[in-house]
Symmetry: C2
Subunit: 251 residues, 2 copies
């Protein structure tokens, strides 16, 4: 008999060439599928993901689904997957943090109704000793309030062409951004983005552009102008991958 | 001419055998002093620390003082120290995050009027993919409210013999604990401890004992009994070093 599982995954993106399988590369998908072979009668299952992440991007709670040829309960699948991941990866940079038995029509990508990302910045002169691969180190003093105010120009239903990778394969640049907030959180400046779905590099491009506001090179209205231009060249630079975390996926 | 500096230091404790110099071992003090040689006419200066930390313990804001044979301003000392630390340590696991010129009578240890530590726990079944060396991984579900309530028995002026390493060299076991709070913070359970000064292993011993309350093996009153016993054997086990961070030192 086969069973259909929803797995929630945490990973440190540092060692990986992103989520998606690429021959000969270390990817999260490859490690997960190799671990799940062990509880799928030796056959490699296909893992479907809520949102592919790029090289270096982290996830606190990525979601995948997988169909396995077993009647294991979800807890057993979680523990077995972690057992095999621990054997392969040292340190164990991928962990299955939750598992649920779900109906056959559950699809990690197509059933999702909301995705949240958080982008972390450490804003100071000094080098980073803790969290070096976990946040963008920005030297120039950023104005967090100005960034948050400017971010509100991007909230709502818009054509996000100016903030979309030129390699993005999405069928439309129209997206509804439900939240884009910039705030201080302990040693970090965090930028939280929430939407049904995002374009390729959208969060990193929005962050890279908001940094221009934070350092005083742009005023808030420049964000609106960039959006209205519907041209990637009108947006700011792409923030580095290692500050970005997939935070949550809602169904 | 000589100048007297207060330096604030961040470090990831993972690679270090603690703060204090030990011949042939990787220590924070050794790395700092080796870096400062470069701006002290080739002579190794002595660095004095607010609170020595053990192997594996981290610091967001450790404080040291040092006298250097130079008239460099504080900013230049910070940048020079970071330059040499970056050359020696890869990744740069020690960073000077602030520097101040101070009067000759400023002493990192003896002038301090308050020290704060935070202890981080990740409380879940699944292995830790992010922050593996940065928090104590506790599998058994902890009752945070019960831990916080029990912690209040330790706040105040007490004989902390039951929570002091038997190797502690402090002249007295009497300390005034100003705060011991247990709360959820994102993916973590955090325990914050604030006092003029602490005994050796005091925070880790209090945390290890509060865990007994959190998992239901002890009730809150057992904490009071342990305290009253004035015997290390009456306290709970020592929590591991890698969950502990020196958070702040006030002067």
């Amino acid at each position: 008999m086969t069973s259909h599982y929803k797995l929630t995954i945490e990973y440190d993106g540092t060692p990986f060439c992103g989520f998606q399988f690429q021959p000969g590369m270390l990817t999260v998908q490859d490690e997960l599928e190799k671990a799940l072979v062990q509880i799928n009668k030796g056959i490699r299952p296909k893992v479907y993901v809520a949102g592919r992440t790029d090289t270096g991007v982290h996830a606190f709670a990525q979601v995948v689904h997988v169909t396995l040829d077993t009647d294991y309960n979800a807890f057993k699948v979680m523990n077995a997957a972690n057992h095999y991941l621990r054997d392969t990866l040292k340190p164990q940079s991928v962990s299955v943090i939750d598992a649920q038995l779900v109906k056959k029509d559950f699809h990690a990508r197509f059933s999702a109704i909301e995705r949240s990302y958080v982008y972390k910045i450490i804003n100071r002169q000094a080098p980073i000793a803790i969290d070096a691969n976990r946040a963008w180190h920005v030297y120039i003093k950023l104005d967090v309030k100005a960034m948050n105010k400017a971010a509100q120009f991007l909230v709502g239903h818009h054509d996000f062409t100016s903030f979309r990778s030129t390699e993005c394969q999405g069928s439309t640049p129209m997206k509804t951004l439900d939240e884009l907030s910039v705030y201080k959180a302990g040693n970090f400046i965090e930028i939280k983005a929430r939407s049904r779905s995002f374009l390729h590099h959208q969060v990193r491009n929005m962050v890279g552009t908001l940094k221009l506001v934070g350092e005083g090179k742009w005023v808030g209205e420049n964000i609106k102008k960039a959006l209205d231009a519907k041209d990637r060249r009108a947006g700011g630079p792409t923030a580095p991958a290692h500050g970005l975390y997939l935070l949550d996926v809602k169904y």
